[in-house]
Symmetry: C2
């Protein structure tokens, strides 16, 4: 694992060491005040056993954006990129080739300073740990549209990968699971009128041949898969409407047959086709399309990620 | 420190051991998903060197309410009370006598299970740690009324002492500090029209001789000091209006001289008189009263806490 401590106002010398437990004072602020941010990214192996990253600098930029919102120090890009590549090189054998296989990479930062007062820490630890991964979601996903619980609000931390955002979703998601839904699509906290994003995915709607997705905001994470899909869709001649998405609009589109697809986007599964959604107790099934946009996007993204195709965007980065 | 592990679906045998670092896997969920809740309480020493707790069962009830919202298991009251008392008995010498002195007690629960998926842990640790404390806030406090940032939303976790709620306040509070304000009074995330609570305090307004405070809600922590003050005020013949408090109302009351006091309430300082608030760039000073309600409430609460007076409510609990 890669570790680097922040102390006396600066990031200290980074280290790569064998994976081992952390030793922290019980009063370390991360335990009490949730001062912790993280990222999720992957390394992919091609047929020549070369290993590739996908837009890794965007992950570093985002963890720094998250860190700023939680009053944590930014981490330098060069130390991150060097450390990341050195670590993945060491762990190369854990990256299995073949679509779906990858090494999941988890950079994260925690407040380590021991202190009981509810104020920002002056000591932190930046870590990168890895774990071999297969596809995250298996099969199609059924989702519940949030009507009571909420994930984030204007002026809050929804756009950050702040640790606390995730624990806050566990209980509502458990309730949804009990009703047979794997995920919740969060709506605006105020009136639950707009569809925003799912637990760890941004959400796209295909209405006839147009792709619709909510704009990123203070409440919505700026997903790297999301923006890659928007780019690929536009370059494939698909109209992409980035605008607030009303729940009633999607319900209507489902009823009149113009709703062709819903899918989530995220590093974990690339795209997760959603087969049904429930809103106010009513279940809406989405008829399976012959040629789904979601399959095309997954194929194109995987092509770039696994070095099977051209990368006109410069998204792929070799180790 | 007191520790108890949750494993195989049950809380294991609790232990009291010397204060020592925790050893946790880097993938422990608390680091990634902020699955952590906490409490804050105090032990007080009277002139006979006897030590007292204040409504401790309410803290346990609240940590369990917080835990439920974060999909964490409840902790049994009897194990908590026995462990707490045994621990405080051992640490008795750290409780200094005299108003303002106390032993701050921090119960908390963290998700210890190593696993990378964003879902609730199946292993947890419940801990109680202590630290000698003096008054938390020194002097009067100047506050900023939130106009842009927000602390919680309907359907969220604002009513829970969830770790992530606190880290989320650090950055806005830093900005407020830079402008010379110690705290933020949070308003509703939607329109910033209603005054809700401060970082670690509920908030009271005295308008002429009436005490006004916001009702607890999904967004506001049910403070133990708050409800004790409401009780004491009512029993002293003071009218207490528990109702939503409009920012404009308080601005108006400040302008026409009917706003006599604002104070925060919380375990840390009992009451913190607020001497000025800023709203939309305008500063409102609160003229110092001769006999402040806040002083009376502090005196009465301290009297009960330090075993100086009768305790008609049964709030005091001996160790
Ligand atoms: C809340 C949230 N939304 C969306 C995403 C998808 O983002 P990305 O495509 O960068 O993985 C994630 C996962 O990282 C997430 O946690
Ligand atoms: C958000 C918040 N509000 C209010 C309070 C005051 O609650 P109590 O009086 O129980 O200490 C606290 C502190 O515990 C708090 O964290």
């Amino acid at each position: 694992m890669f570790t680097c401590d922040f102390k006396d106002g600066v990031w200290q010398k980074p280290e790569i060491t064998p994976y081992a437990p952390l030793t922290l004072d019980p009063s370390a602020r991360v335990f009490h005040y949730g001062q912790a941010v993280f990222e999720g990214m992957k390394a992919y192996k091609d047929d020549n056993d070369d290993v590739w990253l996908f837009r890794p600098k965007d992950n570093l930029a985002r963890i720094n954006k998250s860190a700023e919102r939680l009053a944590m120090p930014a981490f330098p890009e060069d130390v991150f990129m060097d450390g990341l590549k050195a670590l993945i090189n060491l762990d190369k054998d854990w990256v299995k080739p073949g679509f779906g296989n990858s090494l999941y990479i988890r950079p994260f930062v925690i407040a380590t300073e021991p202190a009981i007062a509810a104020s920002p820490a002056v000591e932190y630890k930046f870590l990168i740990i890895c774990s071999p991964a297969q596809s995250y979601y298996s099969g199609d996903v059924r989702v519940l549209v949030a009507e009571q619980f909420s994930r984030s609000a204007n002026g809050g931390v929804g756009y950050a990968k702040a640790a606390g955002n995730y624990a806050a979703q566990f209980y509502p998601t458990n309730l949804a699971n009990q009703e047979g839904f794997q995920q919740i699509i969060w709506t605006d906290a105020d009136k639950h009128e707009y569809l925003e994003e799912a637990g760890t995915m941004n959400v796209f709607f295909r209405i006839n041949d147009t792709l619709v997705t909510a704009p990123t905001s203070e409440r919505i994470l700026d997903g790297i898969t999301r923006k890659s899909i928007i780019q690929i869709a536009q370059d494939s001649g698909i109209t992409v409407d980035v605008r607030p998405v009303k729940v009633t609009e999607i319900v209507e589109a489902s009823k009149n047959g113009s709703l062709k697809e819903i899918f989530g986007s995220g590093t974990a599964a690339v795209v997760s086709p959603i087969s049904a959604f429930s809103h106010k107790g009513e279940l809406f099934e989405i008829p399976k399309q012959d040629k789904r946009y979601s399959d095309t996007f997954k194929e194109k993204l995987n092509g770039i990620q696994y070095n099977k195709t051209e990368d006109p965007y410069g998204w792929r980065e070799s180790i």
